[in-house]
Each structure stands twice: as structure tokens, then as C-alpha cells.
């Protein structure tokens, strides 16, 4: 690959035609490619939006406040990534390590939320009072019609949302799962850099390109999440979508 010409100081790389380092350019090309990757997954999700033959649907399982918290955590991790890079360039290696750890922790928190969310969706169960059902979603109405017709006091369903359940499950778990895998890989990357920073001369205020590239990747994954949160979660519960 293009590592052989790695720039000691990026942005002042005089051995290259444009003055940018090779590796940084490669990173941008990779992110362009990854855009198409997530673009295709999001397109699949949108094509199948509202096409599921049976529930549960987004409106049944999404818990917007919870996901908003995990989204907020992920966005804050981007900020701490910026602070880590900035600390490194100012020769504050201790600050760099602290901010790297906090970035990794916030990333892990996000993954924790996702695990919790996936398992709660998969075990989603519904219980409906047949006497005063209140306002029902389409899926709940379906359970109500099935369960209450036999004269029971409660109608319930433990089906949950699994990837095999319907098109929503299939496209939702694939899209968010691949995003989660990207975040996980990012955490491994950040922790590797953190360990490397204890080795002398590998990561210094001048040799900061490795951190810069990891930061690019991290911010990119965050931006993808903003799109997913908007398109999948917010549009999912918004009436009319």
C-alpha cells in the first residue's frame, strides 16, 4: 500500500505532488468508498420502509429518548477525539491519552446501548388490556384482534423483532449492525494508538498522522450515525413516514 512514503509532518509533505500525505489521501478515498457502502445499506432500508407484511414496526419498538442519549454520547466522543488530537499537537501527551481513553469509553458506551437496544427489540413483548386498550398501533391492533376475540382479559405477544421477523428487522439489523461493527473497529484502532503512544517515538506531536487518520475515520462513522438516527429512528416514529 502507500505507506512507504509516510509523511513525517502531514500537510508539509514535500515529497508528494499535492503536498498532502499519501496515507491521508488514501483515507479519504476509502471514506468515499465507505459512503457508497452505507449508501447502499440505507437505500435498501428506505426501499423496504413500510413494506413489512407484519409487525413489529419502528413505531412499536423504537425508544427515541434512549437512542437520543446514545447518539449524544457518540457525538460527544467526536468532540473528545478532536481534543485528543489537539492535545497531541500541543505536546500534551497526558491530555492526549486521557481524551483517547474517554473517546474509546464513549464509543463503547454507544455499543453497549446498541446491544441493549438489539436485545430489547428482539424480546419486545406486548400486553394489551382487552377492556380499555387505549390508542393502538397497527401491530398492537393486530394482536388485539387476534387475542381479544377469544374472550380473554389480556392479549399478548412475545414474538419480538428479529432479523427474520419482517423486512424492517432484516434491513434495520443489517444497517445498524454494520455501523456498530465500524464503531467497534474504531475502538480497537483508538486503543491500539493509545498503547502505541507508550512506545517511544511512535506517536509524537510531529508524527501525528496515525491519530489524524483514526480521527477522520471516527468522525466519518459519527456522521453516518447522524444520518441513520434521522432517517431510521426519527422518520420511523414520525407520523406520515
Amino acid at each position: 500500500m502507500a505507506q512507504e512514503h509516510a509523511a513525517p509532518i502531514h500537510g508539509k509533505d514535500e515529497g508528494t505532488t499535492t503536498g498532502l500525505s499519501h496515507r491521508k489521501m488514501l483515507m479519504w478515498a476509502f471514506l468515499g468508498s465507505d459512503c457508497m457502502f452505507f449508501g447502499s445499506l440505507i437505500a435498501t432500508y428506505l426501499v423496504y420502509q413500510g413494506k413489512s407484511l407484519e409487525g413489529p414496526l419502528p413505531i412499536d419498538v423504537f425508544d427515541i429518548p434512549v437512542t437520543s442519549i446514545s447518539t449524544f454520547v457518540l457525538l460527544m466522543s467526536s468532540m473528545s477525539m478532536v481534543l485528543a488530537y489537539s492535545a497531541l499537537t500541543k505536546n500534551n501527551i497526558k491530555g492526549f491519552r486521557i481524551w483517547m481513553i474517554s473517546t474509546a469509553i464513549m464509543g463503547s458506551t454507544f455499543i453497549g446501548f446498541q446491544v441493549y437496544e438489539f436485545s430489547s427489540f428482539a424480546n419486545h413483548h406486548v400486553e394489551i388490556d382487552c377492556v380499555s386498550p387505549g390508542e393502538l398501533t397497527k401491530y398492537e391492533q393486530h394482536i388485539f384482534d387476534d387475542g381479544c376475540s377469544s374472550g380473554e382479559a389480556y392479549a399478548e405477544s412475545h414474538e419480538g423483532l428479529k432479523p427474520q421477523t419482517n423486512l424492517f428487522g432484516t434491513s434495520f439489523y443489517t444497517l445498524t449492525g454494520f455501523h456498530g461493527a465500524h464503531v467497534t473497529l474504531g475502538i480497537v484502532w483508538l486503543l491500539s494508538l493509545l498503547l502505541l503512544s507508550f512506545k517511544k517515538g511512535v506517536i509524537t506531536p510531529e508524527k501525528n498522522l496515525d491519530v489524524d487518520l483514526a480521527a477522520l475515520y471516527w468522525h466519518f462513522v459519527d456522521v453516518v450515525w447522524i444520518v441513520i438516527f434521522t432517517v431510521v429512528y426519527l422518520f420511523g416514529v414520525f407520523p406520515g413516514f
Binding site: 502507500a2 512507504e4 508528494t16 499535492t18 499519501h22 457508497m36 447502499s40 426501499v47 423496504y48 407484511l53
Partner: protein, 496 residues
């Protein structure tokens, strides 16, 4: 990988793998799994190579080599790399979805649960159409280099040819549904894709006129590469014209799935891409092998291939318009297709003969050919300024490029005398800088290979164990690779 899939059944759903032909219900064997996983590995390899090309072209040009002084082949390879980087992720996603369907009963292409088989077609052709430009653009680049050399004229309208290449790459994204005219996407979609498909013929036509302008009035030498390049123009033009014929969606409704389509695609991909590649193989043969091939044998093989392909593929137009469907191995004998199919079979034998001659020519002369001079064609571009075959480090001193066709200009006038690069090249005083050899990429590739087998035969002994082992090896390979010390130019010697 795909070859090894013959153990356990080859893939049998066509190169497009349309759903639901690839579903477990329709296709329970391991053939499709091999097909999926081989394509995924190919995708990783293509992406890695393309990233390399993109960065090299943008960022490692010689001093003075502006983008508008790049040789055409480099330009077109650069555009191809960009197309690959953007197109391959789409097929990656489609294959991932198919994999999940097959292994974990997901619903992407499961019609019973509302899945859409048309989604597969869209994803496939969003990748698949840029892919055909990935095949043809490098060939166009080769032809654009061969014609000026053997006409002793600069390429007519260099900037236009470059621009046309970029426009083709850009528009290649807007035409994918012309593969799906008969799916029933609706009148508006068909009309739009008819128009975009016809429009893409415009930049292609521009290129053809530029090539003709290049040879017009030149002092032409009919060498083997030149013949193949001229053959490329003629054949590709015919393929292009039949292409515009089925760009018209009502007419395509008649042609879809008939032999007319193989006729078209062989004229553009065989008459086009393969002829262009053959031209390149002969053109650069003296450079990469350091030997001369037999011109006489080369010319004979050209005529055999030229005649052979027309005898083989031209009758397909007739039987196609006569209604003969594609992808059949036999048909009733009263259909009236016997004669032309017989001709096609005969033509295929001529083609085989032509290709055997090409292989013999290359194989024999690579070993025992006459040594080639450094510049046998009186070339225009810089690769002809160094010895044949070139040394491992290519250029001893990075040349300074002052114009398009820099080597030609250097040979023509003292005014443009090439000055050895000292200062500005970034390598001054340190010689040529080569990457350090490494074993880790091999480890990573071996890991992927094992993992691929593990995925296909996932119930061997412990389920998924082999896949996990392979992935771990692959991960360790990549990880160790990236941790290898980046070699410092200060400590390099010039040849390594």
C-alpha cells in the same frame, strides 16, 4: 476460489445472480456460496489496488507532470480506479444481503415476506453498469496511446479525450436501468434511462472521432498493436451502434434476452476490450519483456482474430432478431437458426487458432526473442526513455516533465532537453525509494482464504470455527502489517 468450487457444485445462476435463483430453496448447493465469497475477496483486492492507483496518480507524479500531461492510459486507469472504489461497495452490500438471506434466513430477497427481487437487480446493475466501463476505459486508454505513436502525430484533441473519459465515467452511473427495461419499472423510468443511455453514446462518439482525427494524414505504420487498435475502433463502433439500438426501450423489449444482446456485448467487450488489451500486450511487449515478438506471426494472429470474431458474433445479430433466446443449449431443429449457429461455431474455431498464435508468439519470444531496443516504436511517452526491460526502480533520476508526450519532445528539440531532477523531486541525493518487502500481506490473504472456506463449509466439525480461525489470521496479518515500521527514506539505498 471459484475454480475450486467445482468440488461441491459450481455456481449456476449466471453472472448477474438474479434473485430468487440464488435463494437456498432454488439453489441449495455450495456453488452460490463460493460465488459470493470469491466476489467479496475480489472486491477487497480491487479496492486495495484502486486506492493505490488513485493515490499514486494524484500524489506521486514526477515534477512537471500535471494532470493534463498524463499519458492517456494512466488517465483512463485513474478513472477506472475511481469507478471501482465507488461501484464495488454496492455489490458488496448486495452480496452481504444475499449471504444473510442464505445463511440466516433474512428477508431481503424473500418474496414470501415482502422482499423484492427487483432490489437485487437494481443493486447489481448500479455496480454492474459502471463495471462495463471499468472494462472498456483502460482499453480506450491503450488505443489512445498506440494510435499517435504509429501515426507519428500527437493525439487529436487530448483534452477532449480526457474529458470524454470523465463524462463516460460520470454518466455510467445514470444508465443502469437500461438492463431492466422489461422488468416493468414504468414508462417514466424507461424513458429517462433511454435518454441517458443514448446520451452516453455522445462522449464515446467524441473519442472515436478523435481517434480518427489522430490517424488522419499521419504516416501510419501497420504494426500488430496498431492493427489491433484499428480493429478496436471498427468493432467497438459496431457494438456501440447496436448498443444505441437497444437503448431505445421499445426496441429493447424485442431484443431483451435474445442473441442480439450477446452480439452487442461481444462487439463491445471482445471487439472492444479484448482487442484493446491485445493491442497493449503487443505494444508494451518489448518494454516489459525486453524482447521483440514476431511481427509476421502477430499480423497473422490479428487477421485470424478479426475475421474469427466477425464470423462468430455477427450471425448472432441475425438469429437474435429472429427471436433466438439467450442462455439455451439446444433448440428445436425447425427454427431456421441452424445455418447461422453453424457459422458461429466455425468462427469460434478461427478465434481459437488466432489466440493460440498470440500465446505462442508471446511465450516463445519472451524466452528466445531478439533483444528489444529501449525505444523500438519511436515512442512518445517516458517509458520508452528507459531500457527494456526497465530496471526494478524504473527511473534512475526522476525526469522533469515539460510537456505532453515528453519523450517525443525531448527527442525532437534541444530546447526541451531533459534535466536530471535534483531538488524538487523530494528524493534528491537519496536515490530511488522502494517499499520494503513484507510477508504480512500474504498472511492476511491466506487468512481470508481460510475464512472463505470456513464460511462456505460452516458446519465442518465445530460450526464456524474455521471461519473464525481464518478471520483471526487475516486480522493478525493486517494488524502486523500496519504496525511494521514505515521505512525511513533517510536510510534507504538506491536499489534495495
Amino acid at each position: 476460489m471459484l475454480k475450486l468450487s467445482w468440488i461441491g457444485g459450481a455456481t449456476d445462476a449466471g453472472w448477474f445472480g438474479y434473485a430468487p435463483l440464488t435463494s437456498v430453496a432454488q439453489n441449495p448447493g455450495t456453488g452460490i456460496d463460493f460465488w459470493i465469497i470469491s466476489l467479496q475477496i475480489l472486491g477487497i483486492a480491487s479496492l486495495a489496488a484502486s486506492f493505490n492507483f488513485i493515490v499514486t496518480v494524484i500524489n506521486m507524479r514526477a515534477p512537471g507532470m500535471t494532470m493534463m500531461r498524463l499519458p492517456l492510459f494512466t488517465w483512463m486507469s485513474f478513472i477506472t480506479a475511481i469507478l471501482l472504489v465507488l461501484a464495488f461497495p454496492v455489490i458488496t452490500v448486495a452480496l452481504i444481503e444475499l449471504t444473510f438471506d442464505r445463511y440466516f434466513m433474512f428477508n431481503f430477497f424473500n418474496v414470501a415476506n415482502g422482499g423484492s427481487v427487483v432490489l437485487w437487480q437494481h443493486l447489481f446493475w448500479v455496480f454492474g453498469h459502471p463495471e462495463v466501463y471499468i472494462l472498456i476505459l483502460p482499453a480506450m486508454g491503450i488505443v489512445s496511446e498506440v494510435l499517435p505513436v504509429f501515426s507519428k502525430k500527437p493525439l487529436f484533441g487530448y483534452k477532449t479525450v480526457v474529458l470524454a473519459g470523465i463524462i463516460i465515467a460520470f454518466m455510467g452511473w445514470m444508465v443502469w436501468s437500461h438492463h431492466m427495461f422489461t422488468v416493468g419499472l414504468g414508462a417514466v423510468a424507461n424513458a429517462v434511462f433511454t435518454i441517458t443511455t443514448m446520451l452516453i453514446a455522445v462522449p464515446t462518439g467524441i473519442k472515436v472521432f478523435n481517434w480518427l482525427g489522430t490517424i488522419w494524414g499521419g504516416s501510419i505504420r501497420f504494426t500488430t498493436p496498431m492493427l489491433f487498435s484499428l480493429g478496436f475502433i471498427a468493432m467497438f463502433l459496431m457494438g456501440g451502434i447496436s448498443g444505441v439500438m437497444h437503448a431505445v426501450s421499445p426496441s429493447d423489449a424485442q431484443q431483451q434476452d435474445t442473441y442480439f444482446i450477446p452480439a452487442h456485448l461481444h462487439y463491445v467487450l471482445f471487439g472492444g476490450a479484448i482487442m484493446g488489451i491485445l493491442s497493449g500486450i503487443f505494444y508494451w511487449f518489448p518494454k516489459y519483456s525486453g524482447k521483440m515478438y514476431s511481427e509476421r506471426q502477430g499480423k497473422i494472429s490479428f487477421w485470424l482474430i478479426m475475421i474469427g470474431q466477425n464470423v462468430t458474433f455477427f450471425p448472432m445479430h441475425f438469429v437474435g432478431l429472429d427471436g433466438m433466446p439467450r442462455r439455451i443449449y439446444t433448440y428445436a431443429d425447425n427454427m431456421g437458426w441452424d445455418f447461422w449457429n453453424g457459422v458461429t461455431t466455425g468462427g469460434a474455431f478461427i478465434l481459437v487458432l488466432g489466440f493460440l498464435l498470440v500465446m505462442d508468439n508471446i511465450g516463445r519470444h519472451w524466452k528466445n526473442g531478439e533483444p528489444a531496443p529501449s525505444d523500438p516504436w519511436d515512442g512518445r511517452t517516458l517509458e520508452w526513455s528507459i531500457s527494456s526491460p526497465p530496471p526494478e526502480y524504473n527511473f534512475e533520476e526522476i525526469p522533469i516533465v515539460r510537456s505532453l508526450d515528453a519523450w517525443w519532445e525531448t527527442k525532437q528539440g534541444e530546447a526541451h532537453k531533459e534535466v536530471p531532477a535534483s531538488g524538487g523531486s523530494g528524493n534528491d541525493g537519496h536515490g530511488i525509494h522502494l517499499p520494503q518487502p513484507s510477508y504480512w500481506p500474504f498472511v492476511a490473504a491466506a487468512g481470508l482464504f481460510i475464512a472463505a472456506y470456513g464460511v462456505v463449509f460452516n458446519d465442518l466439525l465445530i460450526p464456524w470455527a474455521l471461519a473464525a480461525i481464518g478471520l483471526t489470521i487475516g486480522f493478525v496479518g493486517v494488524y502486523a502489517w500496519s504496525l511494521e515500521p514505515i521505512n525511513d527514506p533517510e536510510e534507504e539505498d538506491s536499489t534495495h
